[in-house]
């Protein structure tokens, strides 16, 4: 299969990451290439949905909840010693996982990097760990929409991928789906588990990552 160097640049073009001369070159090419124009339109549609998700999610119910839970709380009698002064990443709250899930669904690798590799705060953990809550239904709905978008892009470009590659991608998506089903079943039995909530969110993110990658492969093949 031929890898078109122009389609490979479309994502950067869309993100405004190209130098001025590269941007001009892409625009000249777009003017003459209906295929790349169509691919760009698909990417733009996904990005637009992503922007709507990103704009909506942190502004509504997730971040205030996260912030509340991350704020230091007075110690109460629990039998656990205070941990003041010890540094700890705030990483596994279900809300944070859900926020990361939505963000990665929304805006791709950069959001993943921010959510996953650079947690927004690092501060002493509260004396009482906040009670875990399930991933909000709204976040899962956003996830479902993002998956549907990516599956649509992938389906449109499926014919351009090698059949062996398609089989591998499908097999691995099925592996992830089984893991998601495992996590959901476990959560049904133990909905308060912070680990299971975080695990589910992480596995959902992995599916989005793979779908995004598959869609990119299809677009440029």
């Amino acid at each position: 299969m031929e890898r078109d160097p122009w389609t490979a640049k479309l994502s950067e073009y869309l993100d405004g990451e190209l130098a001025a001369n590269e941007r001009a070159a892409v625009e000249r090419h777009l003017a003459a290439c209906p295929t790349c124009t169509a691919v760009l339109a698909e990417l733009r549609a996904v990005a637009e949905r992503a922007r709507r998700l990103a704009a909506r999610e942190p502004a509504t119910d997730l971040w205030p909840g996260i912030a509340r839970r991350l704020a230091p709380r007075p110690a109460v009698a629990t039998g656990l010693e205070p941990r003041a002064g010890r540094r700890r990443w705030s990483f596994s709250l279900p809300e944070l996982a859900a926020a990361a899930l939505v963000l990665v669904a929304a805006s791709g690798g950069a959001a993943w990097w921010l959510a996953e590799r650079r947690p927004p705060v690092a501060r002493p953990v509260p004396a009482v760990a906040p009670g875990p809550t399930p991933i909000p239904a709204a976040a899962e709905a956003d996830y479902d929409r993002a998956v549907a978008d990516l599956e649509r892009v992938l389906a449109a470009g499926r014919g351009t991928l090698d059949t062996a590659t398609v089989r591998v991608l499908e097999r691995n998506l099925a592996i992830i789906d089984r893991a998601i089903a495992d996590a959901r079943r476990a959560l049904a039995a133990d909905p308060a588990s912070a680990y299971l909530n975080a695990h589910l969110a992480r596995t959902l993110r992995l599916k989005l990552d793979l779908l995004r990658r598959a869609a990119a492969l299809a677009a440029r093949s």
Binding site: E2, W89, L196, H199, R202
Partner: protein
Amino acid sequence: MLLALTLTALAGTQQIDTTLAARQGQRLELSAPAGEIAVGTWSRDAVRIQATPSGGARVEIDESPRELSVRSPGRHGRVSYRITVPPWMPLGLSGVNTSITVDGVEGPVSAETVDGDVSLKGGSGVVSLRSVQGDVSLEGAKGRIDASSVNSDVTVRDVSGDVQVQTVNGDLRLERVQSGNVDANTVNGDVSYDGAIRPDGRYRLVTHNGDLTVAVPDGADALVTVSTFQGDFASDFPLAFRERRGRRMELTLGRGTARVELESFQGTIHLKRAGPARPESSESP
């Protein structure tokens, strides 16, 4: 201003062997839809391109002050590339049905293929290796490391810097890693880690359906969090948990300053001492 140089090799009849001057700051971009890419180094500030096309493949070379671009346009044929570059030269290598091998470089490397192995010795700065259905291996890199496959294994050894490794259906092996920031995630495979646990480090190792083994060096100061649903936990260390709630346990080693998060949904998590040791105890969470 772009200086374009195009060399065309006719199918099966002509090999390319050309050497071009390399300017500091110039990057090599090489794209080969099918075939092999092998990159080595020499001490000259020049790039030698040896290409053997077959099956109707062509080779095009474009040169600008910022980039030396080598590509094989068209859907037919294969090209076997042997490229020699100065060690400092950043590389961007890509393919589809292509294997990629790089040895001895000292700069940033991006290598991506769909069906083929990716192997790199060396590299620094941003190092990104990706394959869909091929093994990915990395040795001796320094910097921000991102190595991933989908349907195969990922191995990194003797690396330093931020390390992120991922696959879906394969094992992750991290050996002799010097890092304060490690993130390893697979769904259907084992994870092993043998490397530094820095006092301010953060290490997250995750599998869904596989075993997870971490070799902890002597004197490590870490708060180890072990999470599983249906798996087991084995430890070479005395089980003095500071907290245990449900399927999540915390174990403090030394001053407990580093964060080590170990998760396996349904496999065995083994915390072992670096070097040969026998488990002192085991427990199912």
